[in-house]
Symmetry: C2
Subunit: 117 residues, 2 copies
DNA sequence: TGACTATTTGCATAATTACGCAAATAATAA
DNA sequence: TTATTATTTGCGTAATTATGCAAATAGTCA
């Protein structure tokens, strides 16, 4: 069993402009609160568009667009069943990403807080 | 020695709207090719604004703004020395993030490529 | 077939953002 | 002090994007 994070180390060095844009687009897909909410909802199980819209407090049209963008980046998978369309996580690595960010932000908060102690 | 990614697991669940926006802003800071280039340049050692601008093939004004945004998100640290301002990486975790993304994208490329074999 | 529901898409709008250019600021040296 | 260099910032512009609304599409059932 290989550890992916070690294998991927320094993977970003020497990337072409095109590859760099790909990475930027990937991050862009995660740079929106509603999309992060969607990914959080899909953590436990799949949901259809209407469910997600209701849980996010947004319209189905909006959520549909956000889901399309997430799917375009390979983060979620689309599957129509009956008249509904269900989405589920395609790459669990996303949560590792998000949690790394949460960790960084938490450390910043702690550092700022300790500055006032 | 502890493995940070395990400790941070599921850290994003149940975040407030405000925290979710913080995370979104963090990703937003990484969602720009020039800023990714800057972070790549700072991988090895610190640089001043003029150096970075030249290496990125951009103007100092532009790079200065990008650096300010990166600093605002705690990704780089600013230090004036002489008439120059040097920036260096503040949080090496960024590279883990970027490399995770590169790994995900690489896997997608491989999957797409194998579909045509 | 038509009726019904769920999802997607076209269009307009408001907000954000990257960039170029020029002016302002900061730090040093003469 | 003035001059010089490096960086930052104000302003305008073009491009991108999130959203609302309405229309179009897809799937199921009678």
């Amino acid at each position: 069993m290989r550890i992916p994070t070690i294998k991927a180390c320094k993977a970003m060095e020497g990337l072409s402009d095109q590859a760099l844009e790909q990475v930027a687009h990937y991050f862009q897909a995660l740079a929106e609160p509603n999309r992060l909410r969607i990914l959080n909802l899909l953590r436990e199980r799949e949901h259809n568009v209407g469910e997600i819209a209701q849980l996010c407090g947004s319209t189905t049209a909006n959520i549909s667009r956000h889901l399309a963008l997430l799917a375009k980046n390979g983060m979620v998978v689309r599957e129509g069943r009956g008249t509904s369309v269900y989405y589920r996580i395609a790459d669990a690595n996303i949560y590792a990403l998000c949690d790394l960010v949460c960790g960084s932000i938490a450390r910043r908060f702690e550092a700022q807080a300790s500055a006032f102690e």
